[in-house]
């Protein structure tokens, strides 16, 4: 029977399916056992699968990732929950320094198929270090795959694909979308392939590429723009996988529309949009009708709640950017 779930319930559903399918799946993180984590993403798993397979970990993020490396190279499939992205940076040493490298440095003998899940992004009225979006650091790291689902269907399918993957995968879960809406999703096991984007809507005049919480903001901005400009249509693509990413879908779209706008809340410089724009420039230069453009967070320390509205793209900012790109004249 299909289920109607929000994003956070889709996480639980994915983990439940995975733990049932693979006995070697182990889930842990701060408060992830008994209580089910700060967002209740792992709720019920300890009761169902026991303390050996789903447990609270002491507050030691460096250990979480290192432990997962050892578990994974010795045959388990660990799924680690970091409570918030900004609180998990101690784990970076192991993710960057070991997890992404172990397969290569042992010439394939010890792959580390770890999954690390973390809530990311702002707009949740949280304290400092609870709203970070630093996905570029992970995407920049060789040996790591990075996904960022925005819908319940993709959340379940990408988490299952991540656990099934022979490579380490970081799953960014947009905190703002955890309980934002529900969607009907299939029961049981299915995957959304890592590396494939999803076209939310077709259009002819501009390609908008985004991911995470900004998929919703972009939809709002485009709807409002198209109402006022009925002669224009905009193609909207949800990237879903940040590394590897679906260059083909994006380039095919830009070749059709001649214009590109990339939207994300992460810091602008050296970001996911930097990579997409550089690559599209290499592949599609002769098709372009306007400079490749982006609407992103600024290169600033993520502001506390009171200043957050200045930082994150919102539908009004996105719509203004859409107008700029479409009105551009050589």
């Amino acid at each position: 029977m299909p289920k109607i779930l929000n994003n956070v319930k889709a996480v639980s559903e994915a983990l439940d399916v995975a733990m049932d399918k693979w006995k070697e799946v182990v889930v842990y993180g701060e408060d992830a056992g008994f209580e089910g984590g700060v967002f209740r993403a792992t709720e019920g798993l300890q009761a169902k699968y026991g303390e050996e397979r789903c447990f609270d970990a002491p507050i030691s993020e460096a250990l979480f990732a290192g432990l997962a490396i050892g578990m994974s190279l010795n045959g388990l499939k660990p799924v680690v929950e970091l409570q918030f992205e900004g609180l998990g940076w101690a784990s970076l040493q192991n993710i960057l320094g070991h997890m992404g490298r172990m397969r290569n440095r042992t010439r394939g003998k010890y792959p580390t198929p770890v999954v690390i899940r973390m809530p990311m992004g702002g707009g949740i009225r949280a304290l400092e270090l609870h709203s970070e979006a630093m996905e570029a650091i992970y995407a920049h790291t060789p040996g790591i795959k990075v996904v960022c689902p925005s819908t319940p269907y993709d959340t379940k399918g990408l988490i299952l694909a991540a656990i099934d993957s022979p490579d380490p995968v970081i799953v960014f879960e947009p905190t703002k979308l955890y309980r934002a809406f529900k969607q009907e999703i299939p029961d049981g096991f299915y995957t959304v392939p890592i590396g494939e984007a999803f076209k939310i809507q077709e259009g002819n005049d501009l390609t908008v590429v985004t991911y995470g919480a900004q998929t919703v903001d972009c939809q709002k901005a485009i709807e409002s723009f198209e109402e006022k400009n009925p002669d224009k249509t905009i193609e909207l693509i949800d990237l879903r996988s940040l590394k590897p990413w679906d260059k083909k879908m994006i380039c095919d779209s830009v070749k059709k529309t001649g214009r590109l706008l990339v939207v994300h809340e992460a810091i602008k410089s050296f970001s996911i949009s930097s990579e997409i724009i550089a690559s599209v420039n290499e592949e599609c230069f002769e098709y372009l009708k306007a400079p490749l453009s982006r609407c992103t967070g600024y290169d600033i320390v993520i502001p506390f709640d009171s200043g957050e509205g200045y930082h994150q793209p919102n539908p009004i900012r996105i719509q203004a950017k859409i107008e700029d790109v479409l009105n551009y004249k050589f």
Binding site: P58, L67, I69
Partner: protein, 371 residues
């Protein structure tokens, strides 16, 4: 479990397990491990081999034929002592980077070790049946990796124990504490070894910690901890043997401090003469673990100068042959740079590989480095 060492020798009182004095005379016959002369000779040969390999590598490194390496000279009793009782193919060795003698003991081919120090990743791939991770350059994190491995052993009920090691410098890393804490929480079969060689590059023990010894660092997280004379092969072997048994039987982790001394430099690019007090070094030379076990064997009448001469000759020849092999096989094709990043190349990587391949076919002279 009834123990002879754990919870008997108290690290809070700075007690240390010692079974043999510096002249090779047995101090405590009752506590000596049950090893045949053949086994002791085998262990001694491994120690001698590692020492001679260090000497050889020092020489060829100065000729520019090795990038760098970190010598085990002075720590052979500790390394062979803890690696010798591991069960091959079942137990795990999760090293730091100064572990030459231990690698040889767990079955890492010398040619691999040499390849590694020549800058070839194939060197850090352990052969089938040898459960050894590569050297760990970011010290401290190997304690977490070993803990994860031990978690999997307990989970799968496969009966293996993970043994990991770092130096006194590595014990300043928070991750060593995190790992020991978790390992005890879950009663995991992991042995944490610290080879306290008194120096973290040029930082002496006294400037790394105020703790009276390293072993006390396990006590805070409830891990049975013990200090042992790390220059005494028998003491290390006996304590590790008991710890392995203890961990294998579900009693959880153990921390072992091997009290030893780094006789060589930190790395081949370091000069200890500028920071190490000469009298301290001279004193350490009198406690050389190799001389001690050799004296033991001579006292027992199973070793002599003639045997030593023959062994040195055989080992030098072996070392030289291994080095020749490594030197002739240190290069690999371009594919291998791209092949092991992911299980399958991502589209980006495939594209970059093709670009690189075309480029290097066109401009083979562009491949830089020492080739």
């Amino acid at each position: 479990m009834k123990t002879k060492f754990l919870n008997v020798f108290d690290p809070l009182k700075n007690q240390r397990v010692e079974l043999m004095d510096k002249n090779g005379k047995v101090l405590n016959e009752k506590l000596m491990p049950k090893l045949s002369d053949k086994q002791v000779i085998e262990a001694y040969k491994l120690m001698n081999l590692s020492r001679r390999q260090d000497e050889f590598q020092n020489k060829v490194q100065r000729q520019g034929r090795l990038l760098s390496f970190l010598s085990s000279t002075g720590q052979e009793a500790s390394e062979v002592g803890y690696a010798y009782p591991l069960i091959k193919g079942k137990d795990w060795f999760v090293p730091g980077y100064r572990n030459n003698a231990a690698w040889l003991t767990v079955g890492m081919p010398m040619r691999n070790i040499m390849l590694y120090w020549m800058g070839n990743e194939y060197g850090s791939k352990s052969p089938e049946g040898v459960n050894s991770l590569p050297p760990n350059i970011i010290i401290g994190s190997q304690y977490s990796h070993a803990t994860g491995i031990a978690f999997a052993e307990k989970f799968k009920k496969t009966g293996g124990v993970a043994l990991t090691t770092t130096g006194d410098g590595g014990m300043s890393e928070g991750e060593t504490y995190e790992a020991m804490n978790f390992a005890k929480l879950h009663e995991l079969p992991v042995i944490f070894v610290c080879e306290n060689n008194k120096w973290a590059i040029s930082t002496p023990y006294a400037k790394s910690t105020k703790a009276i010894n390293i072993a006390v660092k396990g006590i805070g997280v409830g891990v049975p901890s013990i200090k042992v004379d790390g220059n005494d092969f028998f003491a290390v072997y006996a304590v590790v043997e008991e710890a392995l048994d203890y961990a294998r039987n579900g009693n959880g982790p153990v921390l072992i401090e091997c009290d030893t001394y780094r006789l060589g430099a930190h790395s081949s690019s370091d000069n200890p003469k500028i920071y190490r007090p000469e009298d301290e070094f001279q004193d350490a030379l009198t406690k050389d673990p190799l001389i001690r076990i050799k004296n033991y064997l001579i006292n027992k009448g199973v070793w002599d100068d003639k045997k030593q001469e023959k062994l040195d000759k055989e080992q030098d020849e072996f070392i030289s042959n291994e080095f020749d092999y490594a030197e002739k096989n240190k290069n690999y094709p371009l594919e291998d740079v791209f092949n092991f990043i992911y299980a399958e190349k991502t589209p980006e990587l495939e594209e970059q590989y093709k670009e690189a391949k075309e480029f290097f076919e066109k401009y083979p002279e562009a491949k830089g480095g020492h080739h």
